[in-house]
């Protein structure tokens, strides 16, 4: 941590949060919330949490602000004032907020100081992770090894949660029309309403780089910040860029609804399948060291490293499919006819 930067970034964050709440225009609120997310990423980088910052970078720049803009596009942009006679609700809310803040403030006095070496959180289990990760798994990035190996159950069920969220969005929003002939896209014909050649050209140049970079992030997560979640979100963001700069139909031609749900399933199944493979070989669920029996020329330590790579690939596939599915459903209000 660098306290000078810490203080300045925290000030900016509080200003941004206030402005996001106070501004009366929903599109502007979404945009200021994007700036808030940038500053959050800076804060976490500066506190040393590079993996968290990477996730926030890909999520905040690529997905969440675009989702807000899509939702505002599909609904209305204006905020109406509350009808008169309801000012009491505001006062009550303010009182409840102040009370909660007061309780937290009193409880906060018992907490260990900021950046204290002997805070209880960093005394019990984390020294084991820090000292043993190279010895156990040969993975220098502790966050990856804790995420995919030591706490593998947790991450598996988080992936299931994301998959469930994608299914919930489809269940809430999707409207099927009976006669909806799907016309395949013609990507090089400038359709009406999208006359912007420059944006299309630059997007066409950048999308392969973004996808290649996402694959690098997934594969190199053992040695540098990154991993399945970040790579999956970046892959999804590349498809969102394609859907915005080209046509909605272009993305549907590459990744239609059936493929999205299938890939989401496949990602979760890869994760659980590796776990069951370990179980079938005679070890515990998600104990990758037994995989050295089937993988050629690996000892028990390297087998754990390779097993982690396998589940990161599963996570990346699931997250990519779900992010694309959520975006396509929100931006077309479940009709899949035309997007932003």
């Amino acid at each position: 941590m660098i306290w000078q930067l810490d203080l300045s970034v925290l000030t900016l964050i509080v200003i941004c949060a206030f402005a996001t709440i106070m501004v009366k225009d929903l599109l502007s609120a979404a945009i200021i919330f994007g700036a808030y997310s940038f500053l959050m990423c800076l804060l976490w980088t500066e506190m040393g949490a590079v993996d968290v910052a990477f996730t926030e970078a890909s999520v905040g720049a690529g997905v969440s602000t675009v989702l807000f803009i899509a939702a505002v596009y599909q609904t209305s942009r204006t905020v109406k004032p509350r009808k008169s006679g309801r000012g009491l609700a505001k006062i009550f809310a303010l009182l409840a907020t102040l009370l909660t803040g007061l309780v937290l403030l009193i409880a906060e006095a018992d907490f260990p100081g900021f950046a204290d070496l002997s805070s209880p959180a960093s005394l019990h289990v984390s020294p084991y992770y820090i000292t043993q990760t190279l010895h156990d798994t040969n993975v220098p990035n502790m966050v990856t090894s804790v995420l995919a190996d030591y706490r593998g159950y947790d991450t598996m069920l988080e992936t299931v949660v994301i998959f469930t969220a994608g299914l919930a969005v489809i269940a809430i929003l999707r409207r099927y029309k009976k006669d909806q002939p799907f016309t395949p896209p013609e990507p090089y014909i400038l359709s009406k309403g999208y006359p912007d050649t420059i944006i299309r050209f630059v997007a066409r140049q950048l999308v392969p780089f973004i996808q290649l970079f996402a694959l690098y992030v997934v594969a190199h997560g053992h040695h540098s910040p990154g991993g399945g979640f970040q790579g999956g979100v970046i892959l999804g963001a590349s498809f969102i860029l394609l859907a915005i700069s080209y046509d909605f139909k272009t993305v549907l031609g590459i990744m239609n609804e059936k493929w999205n749900v299938l890939l989401g399933n496949l990602g979760v199944l890869i994760y659980a399948g590796i776990g069951f493979l370990c179980l079938g070989l005679g070890a515990n669920f998600l104990d990758y060291s037994i995989l050295s029996k089937v993988l050629p020329a690996t000892d028990r330590v390297m087998a754990r490293s390779h097993g982690m790579l396998g589940i990161e690939i599963g996570v990346a596939i699931a997250v990519m499919a779900i992010v694309i599915s959520i975006y396509l459903n929100v931006v077309s209000r479940g009709k899949y006819d035309k997007g932003l």
């Binding site: 660098i2 200003i15 945009i31 899509a70 942009r77 204006t78 540098s224």
Partner: protein, 103 residues
């Protein structure tokens, strides 16, 4: 040299604060998008600077690369919004409710 970079970072944060004024108060929504874009570029550079201060710049440069690649998606999405719905409302309504007669 570290303190020089810390000073540079704090100066960039100060400039970011001034840009944030435009992003928050800016009369129209597109002014806000412009402010967001400028803040994104400054964030990219600050990430590399923080990596330099930590002496582990090879770990931080990937995050900055992700920002450089993804930063303009929001701007393009917002411009698409204005191509479909042309209610920019140049007078702007920032922190007050729009009155009835106003377009």
């Amino acid at each position: 040299m570290d303190s020089f970079f810390i000073g540079t970072g704090v100066a960039l944060c100060l400039l970011m604060l001034l840009t944030l004024h435009r992003a928050i108060r800016g009369p129209t929504a597109i002014d806000r998008i412009m402010g967001l874009n400028v803040i994104g570029t400054k964030t990219t550079i600050l990430l590399v600077i923080i990596g330099t201060i930590y002496h582990r710049v090879d770990m931080f440069v990937d995050i900055a690369l992700a920002y450089a690649l993804l930063n303009f998606i929001v701007a393009i999405a917002a411009s698409r919004y204005f191509q479909h719905r042309k209610n920019l409302n140049p007078k702007g309504y920032g922190f007050r409710y729009r009155s009835e007669g106003e377009k």
